[in-house]
C-alpha cells in the first residue's frame, strides 16, 4: 500500500475475501484517513492560532486542543484590512464547527498504529518509515503523558538580604509551588486545635458557568454549598448606585467577567476565577458570598476565607490556587541581571539558589536555557522583578514542572530524524541509480 511497487499492467491481483473486522482495520489504517485527519488537524491549529487574538492562551488550549468539539472562528481580512468590520474595526469571523483535539489526535494515533506500524509491509524499504512512525508515536505518547500526569506551578522568592534582615510578608525560602491556572474550592472546618480542609477541583465547578448551578455536599455536613455564576477571568468590583452589574450584588460587591479591548491580547494570567456561593443549612436561612482566587508570589499569601457558622460549628469557604509542596526548599542567594551595555534589555538574568531537603544541600545557577533538574522536578527561570527597573530588592519567579515525559520528546526527535534520514536517503540512492538520471545525461 505504501511504497510497494506497482506490478505494471500485466497482473490482475488476487483479492481474498474481506471480513468486517478486516474492513474496519483497513479503514482505520488507511492513508486517506491519515490525510484527512492531518488536514483537520491543520484547520484546528490554524483556527486555534487566530483565536489567540481574542482568547487567552490557556482558554484556546482548553477549547481547541483539549476538547471533543469546538466552533472555530476564521477572521476574514484581505491585505491586512478587515472585511465587513464591526464597530471596533475587527474583521467579521466565519464560524466553523470542527472536532476538538481529543478525537482527532486519538484517531490519528490509532491510524498511525494500524496503518503505519501494523499493516504496513515490514521490509528493508519501509524501515525508515517504520522508525519515523515509531518516533511520532512516541512523541504522541509523551504528549499524552504530559497532559495527564504532569503538573506545573510558579514559585517566587525574594533575594535573601546580605544583612540577614528578612522583612515580613515576603517569601525568602519556600517549597510551595502555586498552580499557574488551576483553582480549587476549599471548605475549612474549625476543629478548635486544628483546621480540617476538604477541596473540590475547579473542573467540577465549571458546570456553574453562565446559568448553571453546581451543588456540593458531603456526608456529615449540616448544609450544602450551591455554586453559581462561575467566571473564569473575574474582577470583583464595588457596587455603587451608578454601576450596572450583570451579576447579583452580595455585600456591596459583584463579579464581572474580565474583557479586553478589541485587538488587545488577553492577559488571563492576571485574572482570577470567581463564583457566587450559597450555603444552604438543613434548617435556617441560606448564606451568600462571593469567592475569588488570587495569586501573590513572591509575597506571603495570607488568605482570609469567608467564615460562617452553622449549628454552632464555624466553617470557612475559600477559592484559591491549587498549591503543592516540593520535596525540597529553594532559597535565592543572589539574583543577577546583566543588560546589553547602555540599554535596559537584559542580556542575561540568573538566580543563584540553594536547594535543601532534609538531608542534603545543593547550590545551583538557574537561568534561561539552563533549568535545574532535581527529584523529577524541573525548575526554570521564568521571570524577575521588580519590573522594569529592577531591584534591590530583587525577586525571582521560577516555573516548576513535574513531567514524567520531560526528556522523551528529545529522544523522539532523534528517532524521527534517524528514520527520515534513512528513508529519504534510501529513496535518493535508489533514484540516483534509476534510469531517470542516466537518461538525462545523454
Amino acid at each position: 500500500m505504501t511504497a510497494a511497487p506497482s506490478t505494471g499492467a500485466q497482473a490482475v491481483p488476487h483479492v481474498p475475501p474481506v471480513g468486517p473486522g478486516e474492513r474496519v482495520l483497513r479503514a482505520l489504517g488507511s492513508m486517506r484517513l491519515s490525510v484527512w485527519l492531518v488536514l483537520l488537524l491543520m484547520l484546528q491549529v490554524l483556527l486555534g492560532t487566530f483565536a489567540q487574538s481574542w482568547l487567552a492562551i490557556q482558554d484556546v488550549q482548553r477549547d481547541f486542543f483539549e476538547s471533543w468539539f469546538v466552533v472555530g472562528e476564521l477572521p476574514i481580512s484581505f491585505w491586512g484590512k478587515p472585511l465587513w468590520p464591526d464597530e471596533f474595526n475587527q474583521p467579521w469571523r466565519l464560524r466553523i464547527p470542527i472536532p476538538g483535539g481529543y478525537p482527532v489526535m486519538l484517531l490519528l494515533a490509532v491510524n498511525l498504529v494500524v496503518g503505519g506500524l501494523v499493516r504496513i509491509k515490514w521490509s528493508a524499504r519501509t524501515a525508515g518509515i517504520l522508525v519515523t512512525h515509531i518516533g511520532i508515536l512516541f512523541l504522541l505518547v509523551a504528549s499524552f503523558v504530559k497532559m495527564h500526569f504532569s503538573y506545573a506551578g510558579m514559585l517566587g522568592v525574594f533575594e535573601t538580604p546580605a544583612d540577614g534582615n528578612l522583612l515580613p510578608g515576603r517569601v525568602y525560602e519556600t517549597s510551595r509551588i502555586v498552580s499557574s491556572y488551576a483553582d480549587e474550592l476549599v471548605l475549612l472546618v474549625d476543629r478548635g486545635d486544628a483546621i480540617e480542609e476538604r477541596t473540590v477541583p475547579e473542573q467540577q465547578l465549571w458546570g456553574a458557568r453562565n446559568d448553571g448551578i453546581v451543588t456540593v455536599s458531603a456526608e456529615g455536613l449540616p448544609f450544602t454549598v450551591q455554586v453559581e455564576h462561575w467566571v473564569d477571568h473575574s474582577r470583583a468590583l464595588p457596587k455603587g448606585p451608578m454601576v450596572r452589574s450583570l451579576l447579583p450584588e452580595v455585600d456591596g460587591a459583584f463579579l464581572q467577567a474580565a474583557t479586553w479591548p478589541p485587538g488587545e491580547q488577553p492577559q488571563a494570567e492576571q485574572e482570577y476565577s470567581g463564583c457566587y456561593v450559597t450555603v444552604r443549612p438543613n434548617s435556617g436561612e441560606p448564606l451568600k458570598a462571593i469567592l475569588r482566587s488570587t495569586r501573590r508570589e513572591p509575597f506571603e499569601s495570607s488568605r482570609y476565607p469567608w467564615t460562617f457558622t452553622v449549628a454552632g460549628q464555624r466553617y470557612g469557604l475559600d477559592l484559591r490556587r491549587v498549591t503543592l509542596d516540593l520535596p525540597f526548599k529553594i532559597k535565592l542567594d543572589k539574583f543577577q541581571k546583566r543588560d546589553h551595555p547602555g540599554t535596559l534589555s537584559p542580556m542575561d538574568f540568573r538566580s543563584y539558589v540553594t536547594v535543601r531537603d532534609g538531608t542534603s544541600t545543593q547550590e545551583a545557577q538557574i537561568f534561561m536555557n539552563n533549568p535545574l533538574r532535581r527529584d523529577g522536578y524541573v525548575v526554570f527561570q521564568s521571570n524577575w522583578g521588580p519590573q522594569p527597573m529592577g531591584g534591590p530588592p530583587w525577586y525571582s519567579i521560577f516555573e516548576v514542572a513535574n513531567n514524567p515525559s520531560d526528556l522523551w520528546p528529545m529522544l523522539a526527535c532523534f528517532v524521527i530524524a534517524a528514520g527520515l534520514l534513512l528513508h529519504f536517503g534510501m529513496k535518493l540512492r535508489r533514484f540516483l541509480r534509476s534510469s531517470a538520471v542516466t537518461r538525462a545525461e545523454v
Binding site: 500500500m1 492513508m31 491543520m42 485587538g263 551595555p341 540599554t343 537584559p346 526554570f380 533514484f431
Partner: protein, 685 residues
C-alpha cells in the same frame, strides 16, 4: 466584488514602483552651508569610526545607515537645491548625511527627510497641501519641529489604540512621531559642541584667556582653574563681578546631566579602562560631569571608578578635537580635526580590544557581498535562460552553474562575515532568514540541477537567490533597525541557535523552493511549453517531490528541536504559540501531501498546486505569525512586512487559480507518474 480593489491595488503598486524609479527629487529650501563635498577617502575612513549604540559597538556608517532607513525609508538622501550656482541635485550617502547632521545642523535640519504618504497627516498637522498626488511629500526637521507638540498629542492618542484598530492616518502619525523622536535625539546630540558661549567679566577671562567667546572643550581643558574660580565665588557666584559665571554654570550643569536608564543616543567616547564585563562607553554628559567635578584628581572623593576614569585628560582632548572639527571654518581643517578625533577613538578602542569587530563590520558593509551575490545571481539567471533557449549548448549550462555557484559563494561569505561579527550562528533576527533561506534554497535547486540536468532548476536557483536577497534589502530599509542588534536573553544560546533555527529555516527553504517549482510546473503546463511527451513537467514533478521530502525532514526535526529548546527555556515542550503552530502547519501540510501522493489522492497537478499552497503556509509561518501581535515569537515586527506578506499570498494564490483552472479545463487527466519509478514493461524477447 473585491476584484476591483485587487486590480486597483496592483495598478497602484505599479504606479508607485514607477514613481519610485523616476522619483522627482524633493526640494531643499535655502542656501547650502557646506559648499564642497566631503572628501571620499575621509568619508570611508570616518565611516569606520567605532561608537557604542543600542548595546553594541558599531561603526559610524552602520549607525548612519540604520538611522537613515528608520527616519527616511531610503538608502540615500537626494534633493534638488537652487543655489547661487544654479539648480543642482545633491545625493548623500548615509555616512555623508550623518556627518552633515554632526557638522552642519542648520543645513541638515532642512533636508527633506520625513516621508509623508498620506495627505491626511499633513491636514492633521495643519500643513497646506494640494491634495493627494502621485509620489510623496517630504518634510524637514525644521518644518516638523514647530508642530512637534501637536504631533506628540496625535501620536499618543493613536498609540492608545491597538495596531489593528488604528486608521491609516493614525498609524502614519504614530510612525512619524517615532521617526521625529529618533532624529531629534541624534540631531541634538552634539548641540553643546556645535557652538560657543560668551565670556564676560575679568575672573572668567583669567580662567579661559582673554577671548570673547569660548567653547565647551576649552572650558574642560581649564577645568581646574574653573573649579578654583567656582570655589572662590562660593555663594556669590551670581555677583556681577564674576561676569556671566552663573550662566556658564547653568550651561555646564545642563550638559552634565546624564540621563539615568538607557542611553538613547550613540556614545562616542570610549572608556580608557581595560574592558570590564560588557561595560558601556561614556556619553558626553558623563565626561563633562566628571571633568568639571574634578573626579580624576587625587583629593576628590568619587566612589565610582567609571566616573573617575571619565575625567581623563585624553577624553578631554578627544572632545576638543571633535568640537574643533564640528566648528572648523574650512573643509580641510574639519577633516584634519575629525581625523585626529577618529584616530584617538580608534586607539582607545584598539586598546580595549573592541576595534577588530567594528573594523570587520565596516569592511562588511563596504564590501556588500550580498549585493554582489544578487547581481551575480541575475547574471546566472540570464545565462540559464540562454541555456534553455539553446539546449544543445553545454557551455551555457556550465556557465550558468559556475556563475550561480559563484553567487552562492559570495552569499556564504556574506553570511559567514555576519556570524563572525555578531559571534553567533547564522540566524538571530528576521533579516538573517532571508539570506539563509535564499542561499540554502538556491543550493538545493543547484544540487537538483546537477543531478537531473533538465535546466529548469538552473533557472529557478538564481531566481530564488536573487529574489531573497532583494527581499532582504527591501526589508532592511523598511524595518529601519540595526540588522546585527543584540539578541534578547532567551536567544542567547549559541547551541540552540545553531541547531534549531537553521534546521527550521531549512524546512522553510525547502517549502519555498518546492512552491517555486510548483509555480514553474503551473507555468509549463498552462503556457503549454512542454515537450510533447510532457518530459519537462515530469522532471519538475520529480524535483518538487525531492525538495518537499527535504523540506519535510528538516521542518519536522526543526520543529521538534524547537520544542525541546522551549522545554529547556520556558518549561514546556509545546505552548501553542503562533510561531510554533505555524511551523507545525508547514510540517503537517507536507506530511499530508506526501501521504496523499502515496495513496493516489493527488497526482502531478495536485502535488504542484499543494506545494504552492504549502508555500502560502510557509509565508504565514515565517512572517504572518510575527504580525499577529500575539505570543513569544513576536519580536520581529514591522508593518511594512504585512504588505509583503499579502503580496506573496496574492502572487502564490494567482498560481493556484491559474493551475486550478488549467486542471479543470484540461480535457483528460494526465497519466499517473511516480518519480523514481518507471513502470516495468512486459518483455517479450
Amino acid at each position: 466584488m473585491h476584484t476591483p480593489t485587487l486590480l486597483s491595488r496592483c495598478w497602484l503598486l505599479l504606479l508607485l514602483f514607477a514613481a519610485a524609479c523616476s522619483r522627482p527629487a524633493p526640494k531643499y529650501d535655502g542656501e547650502l552651508e557646506r559648499t564642497e563635498p566631503w572628501p571620499a577617502e575621509f568619508v570611508t575612513a570616518f565611516g569606520a569610526l567605532p561608537l557604542m549604540h543600542e548595546g553594541r559597538t558599531m561603526p559610524f556608517s552602520t549607525l548612519a545607515a540604520s538611522t537613515l532607513y528608520a527616519v527616511h525609508g531610503r538608502r540615500d538622501v537626494q534633493f534638488v537645491s537652487a543655489g547661487k550656482d544654479g539648480v543642482q541635485t545633491v545625493k548623500l550617502s548615509p555616512t555623508e548625511w550623518l556627518l552633515d547632521v554632526w557638522c552642519f545642523p542648520k543645513q541638515s535640519g532642512r533636508y527633506p527627510l520625513f516621508r509623508i504618504e498620506n495627505v491626511g497627516v499633513l491636514s492633521a498637522l495643519g500643513f497646506e497641501h494640494g491634495g493627494q498626488k502621485q509620489g510623496f511629500e517630504y518634510l524637514s526637521y525644521a518644518e516638523l519641529l514647530p508642530v512637534g507638540e501637536k504631533l506628540e498629542e496625535l501620536a499618543e492618542a493613536a498609540s492608545g489604540k491597538h495596531q489593528s484598530v488604528r486608521s491609516p492616518v493614525e498609524s502614519h502619525v504614530a510612525n512619524l512621531f517615532h521617526q521625529l523622536l529618533v532624529y531629534h535625539r541624534l540631531h541634538r546630540q552634539h548641540e553643546a559642541l556645535q557652538g560657543s558661549f560668551p565670556v564676560e567679566g575679568e575672573p572668567m577671562r583669567a580662567v579661559v584667556g582673554s577671548v570673547d567667546r569660548v567653547s565647551l572643550a576649552v572650558l574642560l581643558q581649564k577645568s581646574q582653574e574653573f573649579r578654583t574660580l567656582v570655589r572662590e565665588a562660593g555663594e556669590q557666584f551670581e555677583d556681577p563681578k564674576y561676569g556671566n559665571l552663573s550662566q556658564v554654570l547653568q550651561f555646564v550643569s545642563t550638559v552634565a546631566q546624564t540621563p539615568s536608564g538607557p542611553q538613547r543616543v550613540p556614545m562616542v567616547l570610549p572608556p580608557l579602562l581595560p574592558p570590564a564585563e560588557k561595560d558601556a562607553w561614556h556619553p558626553l554628559s558623563q565626561v563633562v560631569d566628571a571633568v568639571i567635578r574634578g573626579a580624576g584628581e587625587p583629593g576628590t572623593k568619587v566612589e565610582d571608578a567609571k566616573l573617575r576614569a571619565a575625567a581623563d585628560p585624553k577624553l578631554v582632548a578627544m572632545i576638543a578635537d571633535l568640537q574643533a572639527g564640528l566648528l572648523a571654518p574650512t573643509m580641510a581643517e574639519r577633516v584634519r580635526h575629525l581625523d585626529s578625533f577618529r584616530a584617538a577613538v580608534v586607539a582607545a578602542a584598539t586598546a580595549r580590544g573592541e576595534l577588530g569587530k567594528v573594523a570587520l563590520e565596516s569592511y562588511y558593509y563596504g564590501a556588500n557581498w550580498h549585493f554582489h551575490a544578487m547581481m551575480t545571481f541575475v547574471l546566472a539567471f540570464v545565462l540559464a535562460v540562454g541555456a534553455c533557449v539553446l539546449p544543445r549548448n553545454r557551455i551555457l549550462w556550465w556557465a550558468g552553474m559556475v556563475t550561480s555557484g559563484g553567487a552562492l559563494a559570495m552569499l556564504v561569505a556574506d553570511v559567514w562575515l555576519r556570524c563572525v561579527i555578531t559571534s553567533h550562528p547564522p540566524i538571530g533576527r528576521l533579516y538573517d532568514t532571508f539570506l539563509f533561506i535564499g542561499g540554502t534554497g538556491a543550493l538545493a535547486l543547484l544540487i537538483a540541477e546537477a543531478i537531473l540536468r533538465r535546466r529548469f532548476a538552473l533557472v529557478l536557483a538564481p531566481l530564488l537567490g536573487a529574489l531573497m536577497i532583494l527581499l532582504a534589502r527591501l526589508f532592511e530599509v523598511a524595518d529601519g533597525a540595526d540588522t546585527m542588534r543584540p539578541l534578547q536573553a532567551v536567544l542567547l544560546s549559541n547551541f540552540w541557535l545553531a541547531v534549531h533555527v537553521p534546521t527550521m529555516n531549512l524546512g522553510y527553504a525547502g517549502g519555498v523552493a518546492a512552491a517555486l517549482v510548483g509555480c514553474a510546473w503551473v507555468v509549463v503546463r498552462a503556457a503549454r511549453i512542454d515537450h510533447p511527451d510532457g518530459e519537462l513537467a515530469k522532471s519538475l514533478y520529480r524535483v518538487n517531490y525531492g525538495v518537499t521530502c527535504f523540506g519535510l525532514a528538516t521542518a519536522v526535526v526543526g520543529t521538534i528541536l524547537g520544542g525541546v529548546w522551549a522545554n529547556d527555556s520556558w518549561g514546556r515542550f509545546w505552548g501553542w504559540d503562533p510561531k510554533e503552530n505555524g511551523a507545525m502547519l508547514v510540517c503537517l501540510s507536507q506530511i499530508a501531501l506526501l501521504h496523499a501522493r502515496m495513496c493516489g489522492m493527488v497526482r502531478d497537478a495536485g502535488f504542484a498546486l499543494w506545494s504552492v499552497a504549502t508555500g502560502i503556509i510557509v509565508v504565514f509561518s515565517w512572517f504572518h505569525t510575527n504580525l499577529l501581535g500575539v505570543g513569544l515569537h513576536a519580536y520581529g515586527f514591522s508593518s511594512a512586512l504585512l504588505t509583503g506578506v499579502w503580496i506573496s499570498y496574492t502572487f502564490l494564490g494567482l498560481f493556484l487559480v491559474v493551475g486550478g483552472l488549467d486542471v479543470l479545463l484540461r480535457p483528460k487527466p494526465a497519466p499517473i507518474t511516480r518519480p523514481g519509478h518507471v513502470p516495468a514493461l512486459p518483455t517479450e524477447a
